[in-house]
Symmetry: C2
Amino acid sequence: MANQDIDYIDLKILQALLENAFLTHKEIGAKVHLTGQAVGARVRKLTDLGVIDGYTLRWNPGKIGLTVHAFLTVFMNSNQSHQSFRDFVLSNEAVTEVHRVSGEGCYWLRIRIGDSSELNKLLDSVLKYGNYRLSLSIEQIK
Amino acid sequence: MANQDIDYIDLKILQALLENAFLTHKEIGAKVHLTGQAVGARVRKLTDLGVIDGYTLRWNPGKIGLTVHAFLTVFMNSNQSHQSFRDFVLSNEAVTEVHRVSGEGCYWLRIRIGDSSELNKLLDSVLKYGNYRLSLSIEQIK
DNA sequence: AGTAACTCCTTTCACGGTGAAAGTATAAAG
DNA sequence: CTTTATACTTTCACCGTGAAAGGAGTTACT
């Protein structure tokens, strides 16, 4: 499996692993009509190509007390503060995802935090860098 | 390990698995000073409690041609269309995450799609249900 | 056509991670 | 001081894994 092309079978394998990364190669092989070893070689190819970056958990922050799930669009109020803002979000563990965006605002953040008073404190910190628009996730549908 | 409390060690294990879900229990055990089997028992507890929902990939949609990463806030224009909107987003494979939100808009969507013309078509479909605000991810920072 | 090179598969095999079971240690309760 | 419960370690058999070797199918060159 040195050929760098990604075919239909690779996509099926990706899809299977996205659903459950602990499927054995043998089990995936049963779906795509290959032996486990052949699946293993393709998974290695996908990893070498950088399609697969790593393996992680699907989990439930709410069950360990992180009941607030918020999306924050940040509008910077100065061109000087970008670097310090980045340092801030990178070091704040309640901020679990950050994107530079075009369109609405400058940055988009995902927040996982215990309760609304903690969120309040976080929002105060964000105000140092700019304004924001906040959305709270009521229910994850997909 | 029938005790339902989640302690500091459990959180360390969670953190380790979030970074790399394919660490062996033994390797995690070396970090938290337990045998692999003890770690296995705690992982099972976390799974039974629903803290761990499953295992999935960290991956790179850009490498299979899904170069556009967009966030969409949708404002419904009618109270009747919620169910059909849900059906729409659940069945559309470019929509990879959906939340009901309070604050800005009614729903928040994550889109992974090949190019802007495909995005255009998707946005046209969304317009049937309401208005939207679009942000494009330029760079994922965290 | 014949052969060489290449790709991608299967088969085989040894290693090691895994969960189950049994044994051990510690702490709390009567 | 014993009983019980919890959470650990040790031991063990199973099986998933990657490596290696071999085979089948395809392409390209003479």
